[in-house]
Symmetry: C2
Subunit: 222 residues, 2 copies
């Protein structure tokens, strides 16, 4: 085997190993979510999770420092969707409204799987200082990124320039969190349609009002 052939094999193996590790991590996360939705975080052990994921108990600690940290994966997934929106905004092919609406729609996917799951997630987030710490950091990063999209929207003339981008970002995050809670209590209609409505409401309050706007003209855009 020549040198470059050998290197290629090493790289492919490393790539495969990384992919497997990422898959195992997500599998542990999904199994944990399912159990937490059924029983609540306090009644789920690491062993329950590893058994459900069909891996040894020790494997869990290759990926997470402790049980509570597994919930941070949800925050990471959501943060990834916000990062995608930032890239979209930077490409500048969509209006700010389209970029943010698409982002909000994508953010509904994970928590929207089941009302019980959403309740368990937010409840665990608030009940445990450990989880709060992890999620708080990701949320702050998410708000910072959204504020960037809003600021770009102001520069492009889509968003009212007198609003503070970081405050607007906080309003959007709050509106989404509140929407998840109300939906998780009612359970219907889908979280996606609830998020769509929340976004419409949100957008109306930040969109630039053309100086010659009439009430009707402005509302039709939103």
């Amino acid at each position: 085997m020549g040198r470059s052939q050998k290197q290629l094999t090493v790289t492919v193996t490393a790539g495969r190993r990384q992919r497997r590790a990422a898959e195992t991590r997500i599998r542990l996360f999904r199994c944990a979510l399912k159990l937490i939705a059924e029983r609540g975080l306090a009644n789920v052990t690491v062993e329950d999770i590893t058994e459900a994921a069909d891996v040894g108990k020790g494997t869990f600690f290759n990926y997470f420092g402790k049980k509570e940290h597994v919930l941070g994966v949800m925050a990471e997934i959501q943060l990834g969707k916000i990062r995608e929106a930032v890239e979209r905004a930077q490409r500048g092919r969509q209006t700010t409204e389209e970029t943010l609406r698409r982002m909000v729609r994508r953010l509904a996917q994970e928590p929207g799987r089941s009302p019980n799951l959403a309740r368990a997630l937010i409840s665990s987030l608030l009940a445990s200082e450990e989880v709060s710490q992890v999620v708080r950091n990701r949320m702050q990063e998410g708000r910072r990124l959204i504020a960037g999209i809003v600021a770009a929207g102001q520069a492009a003339g889509h968003v009212d320039p007198r609003l503070k981008p970081e405050r607007v970002a906080a309003q959007l995050v709050q509106a989404c969190l509140g929407t998840v809670i109300l939906w998780s209590l009612d359970g219907r209609p889908s979280l996606a349609s609830r998020f769509e409505e929340t976004f419409r409401h949100f957008w109306r309050s930040i969109a630039v009002v053309p100086t010659n706007a009439t009430a009707t003209g402005r509302r039709k855009r939103a």
Copy 2:
């Protein structure tokens, strides 16, 4: 003692008894909240609560069917504040914006006492099916009442007549819930100022836009 004198005594005694019962109920609620904020609902027993409130264990069950029901008192208190807003709206001396802003400010008082308490409350609400059931009913009633204020605001020409009052009410409740959550994670500034900002944002998206409005003119009002 004449008959009317005797009746008066009975009435006064009944009134006093009622007042004492109401006070005991609120005392049990306050003690429960304090303990739940410190330890979480799961780690607080009825005996812990009655000991803190300095009453016999049996007394608790004169007021609440089970431990979880004590949290319903918070929902009642909030519902009372919404009812006050309905009465204000009916007197018609304030604009809809003033009535709703005042209501939102009053709603911030109870959960705004402590971030830990707010976290414990929402976490318990979502974790326990028992609590959810109680709170869900009160919340639906709250939304119905707020929708009434919004509809009156539409009739008075303050609120955009094309919006559905019950949807607008849901948006306000969601925004407030999300604001409590984000605040309970950050802990600063006060919930009152966060609610004030959330309300400004909310109002911008439902206010009637005067047909001759410029962007500046409209935003200054909000």
